[in-house]
Amino acid sequence: MSRSDVLVDADWAEAHIGAPGVVIVEVDEDTSAYDKGHIPTAIKLDWKKDLQDPVRRDFVDKTGFETLLSERGISNDDTVLLYGGNNNWFAAYAYWYFRLYGHDKVLLLDGGRKKWELDSRELSRDVPERPKTSYTASEQDASLRALRDEVIAAIGKRNLVDVRSPDEFTGRLLAPAHLPQEQAQRAGHIPTARNVPWSKAANEDGTFRSDHELRSLYEGEAGLDFGRDTIAYCRIGERSAHTWFVLHELLDLSNVKNYDGSWTEYGSLVGVPIELGEAR
């Protein structure tokens, strides 16, 4: 993988509106954004209703993913172009799901919804009808997902990249500053983690920084050893999917996992080590 295989710009997206074999998908936590206007022909995925398990704390399983994509009219041969709000956090998260379930023809729109809006490009309220398909997913690719025991075992051994804001990392805040701070779990970070906020990987308009800038950010400034395996985490796994996309897809590092349990799981575990303050 390299940048040109996984990331397209708005001109590419505009040129492929309605193109056969290309399905544009907006992914958001706040799907009212889609309802107010979206890229013409785009369908929507609701990060919570469509992509999370309604009962267990987990995301949609293989069968659920197959049912969802079949209902929405996405086939195994389609190229899926994902974009969304929040600087593509949830689109990157969905991208990670597509790759977990073996869909290789998936792209992310650089800058997502924000750049599209700031560029004053066309938004449509028309909701397309797509004929149902019979989608078949692969088993989850375990090489892309970290679970909690693997994370605990990785302390001091692998790169742990905490992509939350510095205030969340040090323990001053429990959630990003646009959300209420009512969480019950402990604050802080996983020992030996480096703090590289996801936002450092993005420009102000939501596009990703250049490969050169990204390499110097993670390898230079943050001191990550690119020869080691890496686990990225945040609070609920979506900002770290953005960083997973940077490390695994744009920079083509081989063993990078997203810990989707992230701080809401780790910070609630009994007996695990937690560090407060700056990285040591």
């Binding site: 958001d28 936590e29 706040d30 009212s32 954004a33 990060w47 919570k48 999370q52 267990r56 704390r57 709000g85 929040n86 600087n87 956090w89 949830f90 924000k114 809006e117 700031l118 560029d119 004053s120 804001s165 510095p166 205030d167 001053r172 805040l173 959630a175 990003p176 500053a177 646009h178 959300l179 209420p180 701070q181 009512e182 969480q183 019950a184 779990q185 906020p197 936002s199 450092k200 102000e204 308009d205 945040c234 609070r235 609920i236 979506e238 900002r239 809401t264 799981e265 609630s268």
Partner: protein, 105 residues
């Protein structure tokens, strides 16, 4: 913490935000963005810390509104809107306070 994976996720508040009046134990920064007196409903508010360090971003609500739950301190509020429009304001916050910042661009 099953709820943490859903309703109180990291994304944008549904429908953008509307301004409120109470802070409770939070350090709230909120306001509206207008252009020639009308709400700017398409645009983004970014909260930046020292040295322009990114802290948070929200899309503007239908009323041009935005809201952040910050820590006490000094912040920069930056607004981005289509057409290259942008504006910046300095903001001071403290727990229990709602700091109102209305921005005309």
């Amino acid at each position: 913490m099953s709820g943490a994976s859903a309703g109180d996720g990291c994304g944008a508040p549904a429908g953008g935000v509307s301004v409120s009046t109470t802070a409770g134990p939070q350090a709230v920064v909120e306001g509206r963005v207008t252009r020639e007196g009308a709400p700017v409903a398409t645009g983004y508010a970014r909260l930046l810390g020292t040295g322009d360090e990114f802290v948070a971003e929200v899309p503007l609500g239908d009323d041009g509104g935005f809201r952040f739950f910050a820590a006490p301190g000094s912040w920069t509020l930056r607004v981005l809107a289509p057409g290259g429009l942008r504006a910046e304001r300095s903001v001071e916050t403290d727990y229990g306070q709602v700091t109102k910042v209305d921005v005309a661009i």
